[in-house]
Amino acid sequence: MSALRENVRVLDLLEMSRRKVNVALQSHNGSSEPAHLRILNPAGAHALACGLDAPVSVDIEGHTGYFCAGMNKLAQITVFGNAGQGVAENMMSGRVHVRGDVSQSAAATAHGGLLVVEGNAAARCGISLKGGNIVVKGNVGHMSMFMAQAGCLVVLGDADEALGDSIYEAAIYVRGSVASLGADCVEKDMADSHREQLRGLLREASCGDIKLDGFRRYGSARELYHFKQQNIGVY
């Protein structure tokens, strides 16, 4: 669709401050009207497109710094580049799609919504996740899903050490290898309901054609749910 017909608003960080760009984006908050905005020249700026609360679509044409799309609600944000630390942190709903790699703590504490990463995610991806979903098409770093409470991480590549350490009721699906599992994280059976969940997430991440056979599921052994003497060794 041509930019003209769709009435795309262009926000250029060479000409506008971050504050002005965010104010322009947040001016849609509370509205149910769809809109399309493009951000040019992000050049690694921090806290871009954070605190949005409207069904707008935002394309960021380049790399972003820390906390891009932080606390997102409803917005569909695409980063055509890499994203720094804490992308989509505490997302509530909507969708954040990063075409490149993401730094640590991606989607930390996200309560809802979907983060899709075409490349790799660094350490602590999905840390303290609270209901959001994450699909990483490459690999994830160590301590991913540390203390994750609810929601789902799907990894098409490999997972580094201590995956799912101290995990609660969240779920992890990994297609590649897992360097090691963290405390209280165990491999679990794949029932039909799990396949369905996984299939749905892959579809949402635009890779619904991937075969489910290679995936393994991980979750909590629920042994650390109560503070007791037998656990002293793992604390």
């Binding site: 921090h46 906390f67 509530m92 203390m147 749910y225």
Partner: protein, 437 residues
């Protein structure tokens, strides 16, 4: 005492607390987790005295001349700083550790007295938002219940790095207190022991924190004051780095500070006394030329108007209270003596905030117990208590010749002990001596 008993001598080293501790450890194999704050003797505000005025300073007329008490917090960057009528704020205490009625009582009392209250590790409840005219929203490592709507609904944001009872420690809310509502607010199963992390999930260190604060400001339109709360570990550097990270307000909590549930060994042995915390924090602000530009709020063991006056005279802009506010609304009430005894405790000694069995219905999620606290009556008591503290501070300030409580100064005080002089930087009475200065 019978003369024959004179031969019984309790050991100073192995006193009855030490013996009870060893016996308890030997029988359970687990360390003790409890509430309340440090119970050991620590040099504190009682070891300082106000001088008052006579020939060399003029006092203000007690019931005629005004002594103002207002405080503005967040003047550095926030476009909407918080205006308080009194310099005493209510510290963050979570819904979960406290009942919804208790949170409501705190909100009502604080609002009636013209001050702020604070959420806690468990998110914001509608009750407390509704009944708190000025509500500070805590942004904690656990991020339980964290969402941008509540962030925007708050009047200020407090990034919690730590608290005095456990600087460097995370939290633990025992399963007994995880009711359905608490579990839902925290996105965790009912009845399990909930661990709160000790570090934030998406930033480490002051350089990251500066960017986190940028994000919080961008999301809230640069309106809200941002506080950083630290337990008193290395208060000089904690304060300096908080200023560097972009705080509008620094909150420093001394080791006497209360807690809902922490390891006893942590409560009694980790952190620095409130006197030290204030001295070091003020020094950091002065060194950075930020004193009174970044406001300082201090907490940990504050009980009386005299404590507040001394904290302000040392250079704090305001104080925060936790334990005292709970006592004001009914914690430790002797009317429940029999029930305290049945639980192996006594009014005045109750410290099992973690257990959820609180006879006064404050630190519980049990509906029957929680009903015992009438939030309206509790709010009135808290407001009364806050008014008494304020009147006492004014009385002291007038006697020192001050027309605003912030004019109280270190020179208005002396220290009673060598230890307190060293810790507070206030000279030992009758001398110019500050050990270590």
């Amino acid at each position: 005492m019978k003369e024959s008993d004179w031969a019984l001598r309790e050991s100073h080293t192995f006193d009855r607390h030490a013996i009870a501790y060893i016996r308890r450890a030997a029988s359970t194999g687990l360390y003790r987790i409890r509430g309340f704050g440090a119970k050991r003797r620590i040099p504190n505000f009682d070891d300082l005295l106000m001088k008052g005025a006579s020939m060399s300073r003029y006092p203000l007329e007690g019931y005629r001349e005004r002594c103002r008490t207002s405080v503005t917090l967040g003047t550095r960057f926030a476009s909407k700083p918080i205006e308080l009528e009194i310099p005493i704020t209510i510290a963050g205490m979570s819904f979960g550790s406290l009942s919804a009625n208790a949170k409501e009582a705190l909100g009502r009392g604080a609002s009636a007295a013209g001050t702020s209250t604070t959420t806690g590790d468990g998110g914001m409840t509608q009750e407390e938002r509704k009944h708190s005219r000025r509500l500070v929203y805590q942004y904690l490592p656990s991020r339980y219940g964290m969402n941008p709507d509540d962030l925007r609904a708050a009047d200020a944001i407090e990034v919690v790095v730590g608290q005095g009872a456990k600087p460097g420690g995370g939290g633990m809310l025992l399963g007994e207190k995880i009711s359905k509502r608490v579990a839902e607010m925290r996105t965790l199963p009912e009845g399990i022991d909930q661990r709160s992390a000790c570090r934030h999930p998406d930033w480490t260190g002051p350089d990251d924190l500066a960017i986190k604060i940028l994000e919080l400001r961008e999301i809230t339109n640069w309106e809200k004051p941002i506080y950083i709360k630290c337990g008193a570990a290395r208060p000089y550097y904690d304060t300096a780095l908080s200023v560097k990270a972009g705080a509008d307000v620094v909150v420093i909590d001394g080791m006497q500070g209360g807690t809902a549930a922490t390891q006893d060994v942590f409560i009694e042995h980790v952190g620095q006394p409130t006197l030290v915390a204030i001295k070091e924090a003020v020094k950091a602000l002065v060194d950075l030329d930020m004193h009174r530009k970044v406001q300082l709020v201090v907490g940990g063991g504050i009980r009386s108007g005299a404590d507040v006056a001394k904290a302000l005279a040392m250079g704090a802009d305001a104080v925060s209270i936790g334990t005292a506010a709970l006592v004001a609304i009914g914690d430790q009430d002797p009317a429940f003596q029999e029930e305290y005894e049945a639980l192996g405790s006594a009014a005045g000694c109750w410290e099992d905030y973690q257990a959820g069995t609180d006879p006064a219905g404050i630190t519980t999620q049990n509906d029957e117990l929680a009903k015992r606290l009438d939030p309206v009556a509790g709010g009135k008591k808290l407001a009364n208590y806050l008014r008494v503290l304020t009147l006492e501070v004014q009385t002291i300030a007038r006697a020192c010749g001050k027309s605003h409580i912030h004019n109280l100064e270190a020179d208005d005080m002396v220290a009673l002990t060598v230890e307190a002089a060293a810790m507070s930087g206030i000279p030992l009475a009758g001398t110019n001596w500050v050990p270590g200065a």
